[in-house]
Symmetry: C3
Subunit: 129 residues, 3 copies
C-alpha cells in the first residue's frame, strides 16, 4: 500500500530506473513489512533544473544523481521510518550506485480507509486485506 | 478543493485523457459533494516502465491502461471514500473504458486552512467558500 | 524541509522556471521560517490539457500561466499558511509575472519523523537539525 513517487533527473537507463524501483520496493517489504506484491510506484524523470535540492545546512553535496522519494503510507512509527531511510540509503548505494548524499525522502500519512487497490473497493475495509 | 493527480502511461489521446478527467470530476461532484467548478486536476503521462503496480496478492492483472489517482481532500468519511472508489471504478469503465483492475486510488487528508484557490487567499478561512 | 511540487504548463523558459522556483523559496524562508538552504523543489511541466483548474465559483479566470504549488510541510499554523498564500501571490506576480488568478496552493502535513534530507538519516530526530 505505500504509494511511492520517485522523482529524478533524466539520464538513467530503463534498467537503472528499474533497479532503483526494485531496491526501493525491497526496503518497503523488509523494513515497512509491506506484504508481497504490495507495490505501487510512479517514477518521473525531469529535465535539468527541474529538481532543486539544497541541504538545510547539513553540508551535503547533491549531484545529477539526486532523487526524491515520497512515500504515502499508514501506520509505521518513527523507528520504522528511520530504519527505512537507512535501508534506502544503504541499498540504493550498494545496488544502484545512488550516493547517500543524493537521497531525499519524505513520508506522508494516510489511513486504512484511504486506499483502493483496484475494482473500486477499499480492500483494507472490506477485509480482503 | 480536492486536488487530483492522475498518473497513467502514454498512449491515450487528448480526448481520452479529457474523458477520464471529466469522469473523475463527475465522481467528486456526486460522491464527495464537491461544489460546481471545484475542479483541480493534474494529469501526468509516463513512458513504459515508469508506473509499476502490483496487486498486494489480490489477484488483479494490471494492463497498460493502469492508472493511479491520488486525491488530496478534507472532511470526507470512510463511507464517502468507499463510495468514491466504487463510482470511479464503475464510471471510468463505462465512460472511458478503464478496467476496474487497472484503477488504484490513494486519498490524502488536508485541513480547511490548507487551500488557496487563487488570489493568495485561503478561501475556506475568509468565508469566500 | 518543505517539499514543494510545482506543476505548470509548458512554455516558460528555464530562466522563468528558475525565477518562479526562487520566488517560491523566498516565501518559504520569509513566511514559513525555513532555514537557509532548506530547499526541496520538484518542477513538472505539462502539455496543454494536462492541468485543469476551475474556480469553485470564485470568478477566477485561469490562463495558460496557471500553476499548482503543493507544499508538504510540518508545524505551520493557519496564520502562517495564510501569510504564505499572500506572499506567493504577491511575489510571484511582481517577480515572475504570474497572475494571482493563476495560482493554486495546496498544503499537506507531515511530522518531524517524516523527513530524511540525505545520508539515510532522519535529521529532525537525530538532532542534526
Amino acid at each position: 500500500m505505500p504509494l511511492v513517487r520517485i522523482d529524478l533527473l533524466e539520464g538513467r537507463s530503463d534498467a537503472e530506473l528499474r533497479l532503483i524501483a526494485d531496491t526501493v520496493q525491497s526496503c518497503l517489504e523488509d523494513v515497512f513489512a509491506a506484504p508481497p506484491r504490495d507495490r505501487y510506484q510512479v517514477i518521473t524523470e525531469h529535465r535539468p533544473g527541474r529538481i532543486i535540492l539544497e541541504d538545510t545546512g547539513l553540508g551535503l553535496e547533491r549531484s545529477a544523481g539526486q532523487l526524491v522519494i515520497q512515500v504515502t503510507q499508514q501506520g509505521r512509527d518513527a523507528a520504522q521510518k528511520q530504519a527505512l531511510y537507512a535501508a534506502l540509503a544503504e541499498r540504493l548505494e550498494e545496488r544502484a550506485g545512488v550516493r547517500p548524499e543524493d537521497l531525499v525522502v519524505s513520508v506522508v500519512a494516510a489511513e486504512r480507509e484511504d486506499w483502493s487497490f483496484g475494482m473500486g473497493r477499499a480492500q483494507f475495509l472490506t477485509g480482503e486485506r
